[in-house]
Amino acid sequence: MKARIQAIEYYLPRLCENGQALKKDNPDWRIDEIEQKTGISTRYISGPQETAVDMGVLAAEKLFSSGIKKEDIEFLIFITQSPDYVLPTSACILQDRLGLKKSCMAFDVNLGCSGYVYGLAMGGSLIEAGLVKQGLVICSETYTKYIDSADRTCRPVFSDGAAATVLTFSDKDWLGPFEMGTDGSGYCDLIVKNSGTRKDVVEQHPPALLMNGAKVFMFTMGTVPQCVESLLKKSGKTLQDIDLFIFHQASKLVIDNIVRRMEIDERKVYTNYQRIGNTVSASLPIALKDAWEEKRLKKGNQILLLGFGVGYSWGGCILKWEGNL
């Protein structure tokens, strides 16, 4: 696609939680063993009154402070599964809060860990089709609000955060190919029941995130390698041609097993889950920004991005790195 990532900024909430906080609430948890498996030592927790829209605003404002012009933004794709309201569309609230022009199209995308790649595909397509020249893809999640403090499956893993990406027209193909997929038969394996109009549960507990970790893990082990292979085939490349792999920062267990099963050179795999946690749709752009800041990317590098999870849904793409952010 004739589009490129021009800039990324992200925001993490003030409260950073470590294993000691988990232990304080759950004295019976063996924190060392949990951390050894998840690889996650710190996670970020949004404030009680802090929402995905609030965090999206803070991430995007960093872009505008760094020279991106609000008047050039022609679309806003807001990716979240923790919207401020069921309706109206959170992207509409963001358009107003950010002071974007009224001719700016704005819509939400309800996708989780695959969401960023879908956002790049949709935004890139709008640009490629000539409808617009520049826009924002904002991923923002507050999954921790859905998690019970005693949930040993979800609490040690999920983290809150927001990332804002500027996509802009380019005369060269920097973005793609893409590979997406869906298997809705796994919808129950990562779900917040009673969160919409369907009442699955009679009890009136607050809606909580439920994850069948083993089933989601098996989905990942089967789907991710297939998606990588399809992407490589589409692009006419091999594993060796990819300079950096950035997978959704699910956990150490998940990423280590993808790397092991695919026999990827682990030096080519970027991770930051250790200090950021799993920020759902925001994990890929946050990792991409961190990889750039840590000088893991050079102009012309081929990067493979792959998000996977809730739905089940997955999306991967190869992007050629333009050389700055």
């Binding site: 019976d28 063996r30 063993e33 949990i34 498996k37 998840t38 040993r152 499956t153 994850m211 069948n212 970790g213 083993a214 089933k215 893990f217 098996m218 082990m221 089967g222 267990l253 097993n257 092991r260 099963r261």
Partner: protein
Amino acid sequence: MAHISESEVLNLIQKALNLKDKKITIDSVMADFTEWDSLGHLGIIVALDKFFSGKVGGIKEIATADSVRKILDILKKHSLI
């Protein structure tokens, strides 16, 4: 591919769950051990997948096997033991 006996599978599960003072037996079920929680089960899947050279990662029913017997039955069904 590696060949393995039932008792060696039990050892693999024992190690994966990092059980020091307790013993996994053929009659053990998930509910018997606090260590055999969601993360513990992932550890078992990974240990088996590594031992069987990536062949367990494709067996979906291993995700819901909540006892040693069920795990052994699945491995037998797929001719891994």
